[in-house]
């Protein structure tokens, strides 16, 4: 990072605001009798700095997520997150690959394919255009008999677990340009009438190592996504989360054109060391 003049910053791990994303649950901490939140990522803090003209920055710190415990999930993990001004998501994928090779010299060759090509290869349909009912049908055909939510993002996640992940156990790739329902904080564009989100993930042996965005800079769209998140949270029976007003202020002030990515450092080190769980990496694990 220092070779490339990317400045290290160290945002607070506990903050007054949590995150609205319905798939992320913050761990709450009581501070002076008030509910605070351990941060699920440093994203909002880093974007506030970017809007103040920091230029390229990174953070290497713990991130916290409630309800995530498993072979490859721990409620506390190490995240490397960085932002590059003037980059788009393709430029940043190149840099992520360089960093992975720097840490893991015999990492496998990494392909690049679009989300719609990945789904088309394995399931035979285009993930950008496919209808919800088609996804439900595909899940049933794969033997899934549980409840299906009528939500395209949810159904795409289900099919990832049922069909994609088992089929990519020995592959390494960047998958980019996600269906708009899975945009998260990525900017979107419309190509031949079909919207797509400029988000990417690095997936090696079925494991997600990094998630990046060509960042959304539009405060109006950001506010709309926050509201949509809370509508989903209500529908799912989760508590609403107050959106962080300082992020919206930052976008209004003006976020530079940039791409950002978060990389799971523990997962990368576990894979590079040939381990098969995060616990094996941790001398303090039970």
């Amino acid at each position: 990072m220092s070779e490339r003049s990317i400045l290290e910053v160290s945002p607070s791990l506990a903050d007054r605001y949590g995150v609205t994303d319905p798939a992320l649950q913050s761990i709450e901490a009581t501070i002076n009798g008030e509910p605070w939140f351990l941060q699920t990522s440093p994203e909002f803090a880093l974007k506030r700095l970017l809007s103040l003209g920091s230029g390229d920055i990174y953070s290497l710190a713990k991130a916290f997520r409630s309800d995530e415990v498993g072979r490859w999930h721990r409620p506390e993990f190490t995240m490397l997150e960085w932002y590059r001004c003037g980059f788009d998501h393709h430029d940043l994928m190149t840099e992520v690959e360089q960093l992975v090779r720097y840490c893991w010299s015999d990492a496998p060759a990494i392909e690049r394919l679009s989300h719609s090509d990945l789904f088309d290869d394995i399931l035979g349909f285009d993930s950008l255009c496919v209808s919800e009912s088609c996804l439900v049908e595909a899940a049933h055909a794969l033997g899934y008999s549980g409840p299906c939510e009528r939500d395209k993002g949810w159904l795409l996640d289900l099919l990832w677990v049922l069909a994609i992940e088992p089929a990519i156990k020995d592959r390494a790739f960047f998958v980019y340009d996600f269906p708009i329902e899975q945009a998260a904080l990525a900017r979107a564009s419309v190509v031949f009438g079909v919207p797509r989100a400029h988000r990417f993930e690095l997936v090696i042996n079925g494991l997600e190592l990094a998630n990046g965005f060509w960042e959304l800079t539009d405060p109006v769209e950001q506010e709309r996504r926050f509201r949509e998140d809370n509508t989903k949270r209500r529908a799912m029976g989760l508590g609403e989360v107050q959106a962080d007003p300082r992020l919206l202020e930052a976008l209004k002030r003006g976020l530079p054109e940039c791409a950002g990515v978060a990389l799971g450092v523990d997962r990368l080190l576990a894979l590079a060391s040939g381990l098969s769980s995060l616990n094996e990496l941790d001398p303090f694990a039970d």
Binding site: A23, D67, G70, R71, H73, G146, G153, W154, D157, E201
Partner: protein, 190 residues
């Protein structure tokens, strides 16, 4: 019975799935990036013995199954049912051929074995890891051949056929590993 949520699924937990009692073998938490959480679960159907793999939405729950394992004494069979006794309560349970399956090959009267009860009825029977059974039929032993190499089939009182060394003779009692069906050693005759 209580309900168990996916985060309580542990190997050995007995739950009902599609109306069948199952034992959980493995529970893997899976969550696509920025996505919904699911659990990929392997279960053994305790009636059929088959292994099922199912994906559940995290937080879904299954009803617990009234399935318990008991150590019981095997009493006898009347040809249709097999009878077992709980040595603590002296209560007797009859198991049908489906529940006993191939385990009948290793059942000797008065031996202990594990009986799995589902809603109070035997669902399956697991023999002890090692049993001692008498040979009722095998080719004559070769005198002096106590070295390794060579084996022959021997039929036991239960009908099981196991491979034994050539020096073993009819009427001897041998120790067998029921998990592999293999001869372990000669046993002292009881």
């Amino acid at each position: 019975m209580a309900n168990y949520s996916t985060n309580e699924f542990r190997p050995g937990l007995k739950v009902m799935l599609d109306g069948e009692p199952c034992s959980i073998l493995d529970n893997e938490f899976v969550k696509p990036g920025k996505g919904q959480a699911f659990n990929r679960v392997k279960l053994r159907n305790l009636s059929s013995g088959r292994v099922w793999e199912r994906t559940f939405k995290s937080g879904e729950s299954l009803e617990g199954a009234d399935v318990m394992d008991y150590t019981m004494e095997y009493l006898y069979t009347d040809g249709e049912f097999y009878y077992f006794m709980d040595p603590n309560t002296f209560e007797q349970h009859q198991a049908d051929k489906k529940a006993v399956g191939d385990t009948y090959l290793w059942l000797k009267e008065q031996d202990s074995c594990e009986v799995t009860l589902y809603n109070g009825t035997p669902l399956s029977v697991t023999p002890a890891n090692f049993v001692e059974l008498e040979i009722v039929e095998t080719d004559p032993g070769l005198k002096g051949d106590t070295a390794q190499g060579g084996s022959k089939p021997a039929r036991l009182t239960t009908g099981a056929v196991v491979k034994v060394p050539l020096f073993i003779t009819q009427g001897e009692v041998i120790k067998v590993d029921t998990r592999s069906g293999e001869y372990v050693a000669r046993a002292s005759k009881s």
